[in-house]
């Protein structure tokens, strides 16, 4: 296949949006005053479902300037509970209003039997789970009328009955359903450390034409395990995985996540700029920082911090 046609078939035909960051409340004022200064924004879909306040006003303003991607944390695609159709209706309605470049969520489950943990919980990776998730991905894609983009989560435990590795599960899921992949290279780094596999091998084994987006973030070193805290600069090992992923995919959209101890916007942009250097083989030498207190994976407090802030 010629290089040009190979690239055209990649990313499921979705665009390479360039470099973006998560749209977070502490940066609203700066963004409104100085403009986005990034190629695109990712939003947490649930922050804007049933939210008609200032955050939505800011989102509508920036969406008129740069592309938006909707990234969810509540689809619970791997749950044994029935799909939450009320949630999916709201998600589709929001997408109808925002016209996002794509909609993503995680290969995970968040709850069952009506209890929501609000965590991104790992799946048992076996044939039965794969059939279950593939069926639900197809239902969601039919309902949304677009491919679903699924992210590899960070994990700290593995199920005893798992019979395949995560890259195989994701690859087969993507091939069977036509869904896209959101490759979080920090999550690969975290899970590789926690479960003792080779992060480079993980990325090499994925179906690269299905990778639509990359996530970047900084974890915390808690001794035996790394925790996906989204509260620190991206470490060198993650930048190297990022460069590899960009090389293997031929170039996809990349996004920096920073959800706790959120830095000022200029500092966030400086961290994002390191991505361009990494693509040229120059890697920032930040280490994974050790934790100084309880380390929280998937922080969501920023979700509600806007409650009492002035518009």
């Amino acid at each position: 296949m010629h290089a040009a046609s190979k690239l055209a078939a990649s990313r499921l035909g979705l665009p390479n949006l360039g470099l973006g960051v998560g749209l977070r409340h502490p940066h609203f004022q700066h963004i409104l005053e100085h403009g986005p200064q990034v190629d695109w924004f990712e939003i947490i879909s649930e922050n804007f479902i049933d939210n008609h306040g200032y955050a939505r006003h800011v989102l509508d303003t920036v969406a008129a300037q740069v592309p938006i991607v909707m990234h969810g944390v509540s689809m619970s695609i791997g749950s044994s509970a029935p799909l939450d159709m009320a949630y999916l209706h709201k998600l589709r309605a929001l997408a109808g209003e925002l016209r996002p470049a794509w909609i993503s969520d995680h290969l995970c489950w968040t709850g069952a039997a009506s209890l929501n943990s609000h965590d991104l919980l790992p799946m048992p990776l076996d044939e039965s789970s794969l059939r279950h998730v593939a069926s639900r991905v197809s239902q969601v894609q039919d309902f949304l009328g677009r491919p679903l983009i699924l992210e590899n989560p960070s994990s700290y435990v593995e199920f005893a009955q798992s019979s395949m590795r995560e890259w195989e599960f994701l690859g087969r899921l993507a091939q069977q359903t036509g869904c896209g992949l959101l490759l979080d290279v920090n999550n690969v780094h975290v899970s590789a450390h926690n479960h003792g596999f080779d992060a480079v091998h993980y990325i090499e084994q994925l179906p690269h034409a299905h990778i639509v987006q990359i996530h970047l973030a900084g974890p915390t070193d808690c001794g035996e395990v790394l925790i996906d805290t989204h509260d620190a600069p991206v470490p060198e090992a993650v930048w190297r995985l990022y460069a590899l992923a960009q090389q293997l995919t031929g170039g996809v959209s990349a996004l920096l996540e920073w959800d706790a101890s959120i830095p000022p916007y200029p500092q966030l942009l400086a961290e994002l700029a390191k991505a361009r250097a990494a693509e040229q083989g120059v890697f920032a030498d930040a280490p994974v920082l050790p934790g100084t207190g309880p380390a929280l994976s998937t922080p969501l407090g920023f979700y509600l911090e806007a409650s009492h802030a002035a518009a």
């Binding site: 965590d119 593995e158 199920f159």
Partner: protein, 302 residues
């Protein structure tokens, strides 16, 4: 041996991670309920504590963000104690974290001792009132407001001479307005405490019934102390009502003469509307909506 079903594994995992007391008690409980030992489910069962600890910390983080002044006022340790108990007693059943704190004030009310102070208030009534205020502020910030409505319907569209002598038509609270009847004057305390450090909080005010309207105008949240008749007046406008209907309701609730309430309302209404507490019903918009939903035979076109 047959593999456990996905539903059984996930129920086991949820039980183990969300049990009060953490992963050690959780895995014991999960084993009792589902007959699966931790080693049968996970290859590194000791790491389940990362999920169990994270479950509480993540939701605690959200409650701390939603109730910042309450936490400063109660003290971090006492607030976190009640917040953890709330998380375990009332696990989230919603896809959105916006619903998480909805029952926290009621939980505090139900959790306190039955003792009352000399004025007959529950011992923890002040924190409960603060919780209700902070929750209402959050709801007011997210609910649909008047910002996207056409200009004539904006709250400051009823002003000047018209405001004094004209008929405002039907009045209705915007979906973002919240009305609170409280046992302490918490509004002023909250405004002073919000920017203060935990060490320099203003003194807790003396108990006394207070009425507050939380309104949103151009995405800015404002809080307004109300007189008792104003509270009942606005409460009457939770469904579309005329000025006279609202005034009559307020007069009945407060035993004030209707003429006095009407006169005071005529003077106060422009202020309330400008602040976004109450708006005029957009008749044209309502008629358009009614037309859309009216059966064909009733539309006069048959």
């Amino acid at each position: 041996m047959q593999q456990p079903e996905l539903a059984q594994l996930q129920a086991w995992f949820l039980t183990a991670m969300s049990c009060p007391g953490g992963a050690a008690q959780g895995t014991t409980l999960a084993q009792q309920h589902f007959g699966l030992a931790p080693e049968q489910v996970l290859t590194q069962p000791q790491r389940l504590s990362i999920y169990a600890d994270g479950y509480v910390l993540r939701l605690l983080d959200c409650l701390q963000a939603e109730f910042p002044v309450l936490r400063k006022t109660m003290g971090a340790e006492l607030f976190d104690f009640f917040a953890r108990a709330y998380i375990w007693r009332h696990p989230s059943r919603s896809s959105t974290l916006y619903d998480l704190g909805a029952g926290f004030a009621d939980f505090l009310a139900a959790s306190q001792p039955r003792d009352h102070d000399a004025a007959g208030n529950a011992v923890l009534q002040f924190p409960i009132d603060l919780a209700r205020l902070e929750r209402a502020r959050g709801e007011a910030g997210r609910a649909p407001g008047l910002e996207t409505r056409a200009q004539p319907s904006m709250p400051d569209g009823y002003a000047g001479v018209d405001a004094l002598f004209g008929d405002p038509g039907l009045l209705q609270l915007p979906a973002c307005t919240r009305l609170l009847a409280l046992s302490f004057p918490v509004r002023a305390f909250w405004e002073q405490a919000q920017g203060a450090s935990a060490e320099l909080l203003p003194p807790q005010p003396a108990a006394g019934q207070s009425f507050v309207a939380i309104a949103r105008n151009r995405y800015r949240i404002s809080m307004h102390a109300l007189e008792r008749w104003q509270f009942h007046f606005l409460q009457s406008a939770s469904v579309a009502a005329t000025l006279q209907q609202c005034a009559l309701q307020a007069a009945n609730a407060t035993s004030l003469p209707i003429d006095q309430v009407l006169a005071d309302a005529m003077l106060w209404l422009p202020v309330a509307m400008a602040a976004g507490m109450v708006g005029r019903v957009d008749q044209q918009e309502n008629e358009k909506k009614a037309d859309l939903h009216r059966p064909f035979r009733e539309s006069g076109r048959s």
